[in-house]
Assembly symmetry: C2
Homo-oligomer: 371 residues x 2
Amino acid sequence: MTEHARPRRVAVVMAGGSGERFWPLSRWRRPKQLLRLTQEKQTMLEEAVWRVAPLIPPQDVYVVTGEHLVTPIREAGVGVPAENVIAEPCKRNTAGCLAYATAHILAKEGASRTMAVLTADHVIGDPEAFRKTIRTAMEAAESENALATIGIVPTRPETGYGYIQVNAQHEPLPDYSHDVPVYAVEAFHEKPERGQAEAFVRSGCYFWNGGMFFWRISLFLEALATTAPNIAQAVHAMVAAMRARDEGQVRRVFEKLEDISIDYALMERAPNVIVARADFAWDDVGAWSALDRTRGHDASGNVVVGAPVVIDCKDSIIYNDVGADMAVSVVGMENVIVIAARDAVLVIPKDRAQDVRRAVAELKQRKARQV
Amino acid sequence: MTEHARPRRVAVVMAGGSGERFWPLSRWRRPKQLLRLTQEKQTMLEEAVWRVAPLIPPQDVYVVTGEHLVTPIREAGVGVPAENVIAEPCKRNTAGCLAYATAHILAKEGASRTMAVLTADHVIGDPEAFRKTIRTAMEAAESENALATIGIVPTRPETGYGYIQVNAQHEPLPDYSHDVPVYAVEAFHEKPERGQAEAFVRSGCYFWNGGMFFWRISLFLEALATTAPNIAQAVHAMVAAMRARDEGQVRRVFEKLEDISIDYALMERAPNVIVARADFAWDDVGAWSALDRTRGHDASGNVVVGAPVVIDCKDSIIYNDVGADMAVSVVGMENVIVIAARDAVLVIPKDRAQDVRRAVAELKQRKARQV
């Protein structure tokens, strides 16, 4: 009977990436989560769905994305039912995304669900450890009626991630799993400076914020009513409009939402926030240079994908997405990124990988069709 | 009547390049001379034919090339009659090429011709000055009954070219043109070491060997009978076989020829060799890096062709041969060569431009179709 007492669980996978940082492979209609960046068989979104499937079956997984991505995602066959791929009317950050997804689920089901908020574009090294961690996070969220998140044990003083601080005594809550301690959250920290990041990692009281969340929908609405009442009201207004099949009204309510993150709208302000320790390899794969952390290297430190000709190169990332139809030859280069698509090529130093956005901006201005 | 006394002139354009150094634009069936490397309108071979047209009309120009290039050259419409595009049975260096061309012309016409041997893959800055120089060289070859060549006034101590030494007194022969002095040649020198090249340029008695030659066919055969009797005999044997339309015999004779240059087989050994001073911009466009000398630069020292996106680059050569169908974006690179074709991409440092051959060799080994 305990099984029946457990609330039914649904997952919301946030999949609204803009597709700029992995240009020329990523495009407006094919962002990072639809690429096979980290392995050859599945897109990152497909991986995200199947990774959680032993805990939450695909028919209970919702993929929230932009309108222009609904068809590409449905066509990519990521495993969820077509009607579970839902489009936000416009972009309103993660708070807007989750308000919209929650309204959608409430209009269809009820508040007695546990919702797992997952990401579609992160690399997770050990799916079994991942599932153990999020199972613990969900169980803790349900038992404690808390807002839960997972905190990735940091392996370097990364300045590109947010951090989650736990109590200094490092005292876990009463265990939910032998392997996965759960802590009360002390504070959330935005991306730190280098020195601060080093102190965070040294202290042992800080985790990386992986952007995944777990809560009963009833608690989410209750907490949001305190921390961001406008958003909570918008959820209820959207539920009413969805039930009335008034899409125009849904859009009008949604468009008025502030553009803020769920961290800021809810997690940083709510009282009852807990974190499950996530001790597995994790990477947000933020730019081409991340392939250095997620892919294997040849003897000269190069990441080589798609059989380009690579002669006398060192510490480079050379990616041919086309195969034998494109002869990509790179000779004598160091610390460079070379990416070849069928209709586009990128050459950029590894330490400037973020600047691919400048090339994409220029191509947009030219109205090039390769963005 | 002087006009009638002048022998009829024919030109032989050597166009048998292997198409490796300008990969990925150059290919086995599209070597350098069929590219529009130096300007947008004409291939280098077309340029070579039209540059000499005011002196030797295209119907008297023969293009000698490899068998695999006859059709591509005819289709490229370089301006000469289709039957004037002739194929050597195999590769036997410039001595073989000229033996074959001479036999072809002798079989059709006679020995009372002046032959101009021209190159198809050099950049010539001033066509008018070029014509003045070769007109002088031809007139001198005819009047003196000498083997004439042109010597380009060196502008830098280039170690990649051969040099032609004239008499130390620098005393020109009695003038054939007010502007173009002609000298007796003292010696030919192979590609020198750096120090030697510097001494050559300082002395003022050395020219670059541009690989162009001018002689009466009768003298060519006579001189060759002394310096390389096997080759002279082969010419006569091929003429006989050609007249008998015995192509098998032509091939058998040709295949037995040594693989040596005309410089070595004839020019360095013959007694009566003269050189006309060529004082115009000239470049053998030996590798992609040569575009730095033959094309304009942007404000950051980049040669940019085909409208790629170029952001924060310096002193680089960025060439998109495809146009809007290929979005080539290069960000933050220095001293690099990036070349994009429809089905191939090359990235290589400028100072390693010659090593493109290693990429081509690897692609050949893989049996890639892009070579």
